[in-house]
Symmetry: C2
Amino acid sequence: MEYKISNKLAALKPSAIREIFKSLADPTIISFAAGNPSPLSFPAKDLAEISADIFENSAAAALQYGTTEGYTPLRQAVSARMKEKFAIGTDNDETIITTGGQQGIELACKALCNEGDAVICENPSFIGALNAFRSNGAATIGVPLCDDGIDVAILEDTLKNTPNAKILYLIPTFHNPAGITSTLENRKQVYELAKKYGVIILEDNPYGELRFAGENVPTYKSFDTEGIVIYCSSFSKILSAGMRIGYVCGPKEIISKMVVAKQVEDVHTNLFFQMLCYRYMTERDLDAHIAGIRKLYGDKCGLMLSELDKNMPKCIKYTRPEGGLFLWCTLPDGKSSAEFVEKAIERKVAVVPGTAFNCDTEAPSDSFRLNYSMPSDEDIVRGIKILSDLAREMFC
Amino acid sequence: MEYKISNKLAALKPSAIREIFKSLADPTIISFAAGNPSPLSFPAKDLAEISADIFENSAAAALQYGTTEGYTPLRQAVSARMKEKFAIGTDNDETIITTGGQQGIELACKALCNEGDAVICENPSFIGALNAFRSNGAATIGVPLCDDGIDVAILEDTLKNTPNAKILYLIPTFHNPAGITSTLENRKQVYELAKKYGVIILEDNPYGELRFAGENVPTYKSFDTEGIVIYCSSFSKILSAGMRIGYVCGPKEIISKMVVAKQVEDVHTNLFFQMLCYRYMTERDLDAHIAGIRKLYGDKCGLMLSELDKNMPKCIKYTRPEGGLFLWCTLPDGKSSAEFVEKAIERKVAVVPGTAFNCDTEAPSDSFRLNYSMPSDEDIVRGIKILSDLAREMFC
């Protein structure tokens, strides 16, 4: 039989990153390609202890169906923490638990976009979000990302010329892939534009707590007086990625539709791990644990930057992240990174080509992404040396 | 701000069942309204032991990101078990892990239906599936469910008159809500019609292993020579509902698109519990455990039927399930069940009105669903007496 695939999925390709991930079975390859948190960021011993107690005392509840919105104590704890630490959430907002931050992004698009609508994104942007928008039949329109955040002038032009834009998708803090944190001034200007043109800001903040340098910048959601921001985050980078627990805080009216959509996607998120997550948050010291991750990533990023500073020819530019998992390298004179990435893999170093993050899937890219959360210190030193030598041979 | 919700979600209501579920906080109410498995069906002690071992020996892997298709050893074990026990799966098929059986249903629709396409369903049908189809902008077209399965003559008429039908959604074994198992003869006729009219059969079989009476009937997937059946099932009714682990076996070409769609919905299913599930399947006696659940539900269903036989006036008809969790009662002369359900709740017995399962959300229903997996024996006796008395007062 000839199968007819729906229009919205027919053209959609698996994420290039996850495909690269699969090809990394070769243990001799130094990988800067992952998006994974370090296993050192998982508090396994604490989780094991609480898990044993849940099995002992609450198994019947933890293994049974739960409510779609999420385990109530966890929702309340997440909501209270966001409010106290980040001034996020008003009486007009609701917080729900999602199956990873990814589901929050996808549900927001499903709730707001018809097929043929548009989502405006920073270019480059997170591939998982771009594909989530495409899977709902929405077009992804890229606006260049500058050092201080999304290009405000081009954004206004784009908003003017895209009447069917429903969402402005942003990763303002420790951007994936670019490692950039937008300034408060940039955020305020962007917020005014979103308000003026009637689009919802979808603020994706999975790395927000991983700052290891510089000063905190308020999230969009923290100054959302108009109720136009949906805020997505997750526990993937601070407790466990594999458990798939994220959360969304946004206007009640939109969240209630996202709940209906979630109900038919997976009924609810793994309840046992929701309980585990809640117990960890309230019985252990989450902030101290996160401080440890910050230190770890600060050290790793510092090492990668100092090796780049020492070895990489000056014609290659790279961002200097203040947090998160990634930095972003750009080749000289708009040269395509495709050949560089290919040659790097031949020399046993994997990086992700910038094309994977393009809003326009056909466009070339002069950039590539480096991850520093997963590789060992030795691999960072060795891998950056190899990339630097290659860059010198090819470009400078 | 006035929010504009997408067309596909704007009209979608939360599942009436889950809303009823929320209102069941009153502990004096006898509930036959749940769709939950009995907590006695969760092998908590075994799961606790394996869980402790995973934390001890494989925590870094279990808490990290995994592949979208699912944990490979679990996929292989599920695939082998389906093949050995139920003759399901060919070289043309692929098996993936989903976040509950619900996600498999939703992904199948997303992969095959454009907005405006149609899914043909038994009427009544599973509300979670109906809403999954609607959330993808597909229309749900009901065909009456008879004692031997979906009405074949009306199905052919419907297929003839619905050129944009892409999926035929069926729960052939221990149907939810109706408790009916379709005959092999019915299945063969339906399969030929699906083949003739070029629609994919989406076979939903979450209860298939819970037979406590009668003879096994082959699944559609087991005789799918044409590659036109997508088979969904889950561990929710045999290990844990809250862990949200299901699986899908279907033609590779369709499954590969479902994987892309899953990637943007939740990246992958909770990996720790996938490992737990795999270890339970291979290190403990799953078949013996399932035999225990069959006995439990057989006893409970038997009790409910004998109490109905003793007490319920003859003008009320009900199905006699050979497995699964539900039986289905029908009032005389096409009377609407709405008032009966309301009066029953006043007398502290909760059942689900048939309207919740209608393909046409505006249509009335003369039926209601009873669940026997959750209530205690005492509650079954007391609750059926109350319903019987009420039926006698109202109808006979």
